[in-house]
Amino acid sequence: MIEVKNLTKIYKLTGKQKREAKTKDNKKVAVSEVSFCAKEGEIFALLGPNGAGKTTTLRCIATLLEPTVGEITVQGYDSRKQGDKVRSSIAFLTNELKLDPLFSPKYLFRFFGRLHGMSEAEIDERQQALFTYFGITEFQDKKIQELSTGMKQKISIAVSLVHDPEVVIFDEPTNGLDIVTARAVTDYLKVLKEQGKVVVVSTHIMSEAQKLCDRLAMIIGGRSVFEGTLEEVLCQTGAKDLEDAFFAIYRDNVVDEAEQQELKHLEEQMTRHEAMGKGELS
């Protein structure tokens, strides 16, 4: 189980960052008092637009960042004091984490297996299962730099799951993938859920979240604005689908004119994105 309590993350800005952000304030609040709980045997979605604070939240859970305020426990381990234990029990996947392009999928899979303290036999078994599921076996000895984006993402997922962790945290796992590979990834998330794992997925693709998640939290402007089941959010907003529900909540939580304009722009973008997705499918 993952428990996030009153998580606040404040970045200190350097002179250059202040100039870029055109602000005199040397602090930036990325996440403010976010709380949620993700349990075993469910897929928990973290929803929000780009820059809302989803990735920062997930990085804090994965112990890559330390919370400024608040606390996070993963399978009962404190993220601050028991970082190693937390990292042992999670699979963490995000766009910023890359695999060394000069190595083969097979070597990297085994390398990370050894870092997790697994025996060669255990690694063999996991490699067999994951490489077969994701169809990696045929290009397992090629250098990663020679492979396509989709293949790389499949390998990243397989490598992150080498140690068969209890908690799986995937940040926008289908981003940039074609529809076939994206389906393979989402299908595997369901397999993980059936295996009783805690699965946390962040996304800004509402249609994907609607099909996938059991419960969800919405983060807007660094603040947690909703936590509950899909039915609860639809009931609360009176919307027919998750996308409409998201915009209803989003509208309530953006205040100024600039943000309203941004919202309009975002709606247009999402409509275009959905249309493209349907186009690819047909």
Binding site: L64, L65, F92, L99, D100
Partner: protein
Amino acid sequence: MKTIKVVFCKELRRVLFDKKMLFGLFVLPILLMAVIFGVMVMMVMNMQADIEAHQPKVVIVNAPEDFQSFLSGQKTEAELVYQQWEDETLEKQDGSKTGVQKVKKEILEGDTDLMIFFPEDFSEQISGLEKEKLYDDSASPVLVPQVKTYYNPSEDYSDSAKQSFDELLEDYRIMLLEQRVGSLDKVQVFTVDSDNEEQVIQDDDKAGGKMLGTMLPYMICMLLFAGVMSFGADAFAGEKERGTLATLLVAPVKRSHIVYGKLLALMVLAALSALDYGISMLVSLPFMAISMGSSGVSFHISFLQGCLLLAIIVSLVFVYVAIIGTCAVFAKNMKEASTFLTPAYLLVIVMGMMTMFVTGDTPTRSYLVPLYGSSMALRNVLTQEISTPQALLTIGANLVIGAVLAAIMSKAFDSERIMFDA
């Protein structure tokens, strides 16, 4: 320990299993050495051949007849031009240039290589001295005639002509002296080392060590650092830039173990690279001797010296990779890492070079100075001027410096601002 080994193996594999990196690390240095020395030897030999093939033009003014006949008896390839001119300092009344002035201009422009100017009354002066003043103690100091030479040291041909004609003039002087006094032995008061075969008392190994000690610390320092600089920058800043370091940080391992694994791998790469440079230098040593005009040195090293040398080099490699690693860890990308590493590299070169110019005994505390102490220790091991405790002091100091830097790197690995720019 297991984690360190896993990271160590991965880092080595990254370089040793990649054809391009392998080529850059091992083949390119040998090729570069071969090309550099090949070109140098070719150019030196060409230059020597060209100078030998050149026929120098020598203008001899007011040459006495016996000098002319002396020259005709010598083997000289020079084109000799004899002139009879007055005092070279006299100006022409119409302002036009004198013959001497014209030849000087030719020497400056490289058209003539040498001018030898005898006084007009050279022969009379010589014979006059013989008759009147030579053995007269009461007479005023003897004024001997002066032969002047003019040449251009910036021109290789002129310089070479000057050297060969200096020898000829010396032979001519001895010839005249013998004519005057009979045998030279009569006027010699004493000789120095005319048949002393044991003149040179030195330890040949120490002499060889002194010569090597001047060059080797500089070469070792430079090559060890340069060989591993790019790999070190890539192992930290490069991985950070590619996003592969973050993947490693998600693994449940102590961050200090990642640092140690990487540093150990870099140490091995530095040693391999230095070994490769060393072998290519040994192979090219005969060519180096040709290009520098020396015949090489004889050098023997004792077992203890060898052990000390190796231990100092290993500890120095630790310091180097720790310096490179520290610079690279604090850099956001490869570009920034190279900016940080350039002054460090220059510092290493300067410290290596300083051993060439420091004379006298080295105070013990100097061995504790980072980088400089190691260069001095390397030199003094070769010249046998260091005690074992002093060498151990250097090794100890290096291990402490390396360990402190490694601890700083481990701390940096825990910093989200340094690792993720957050």
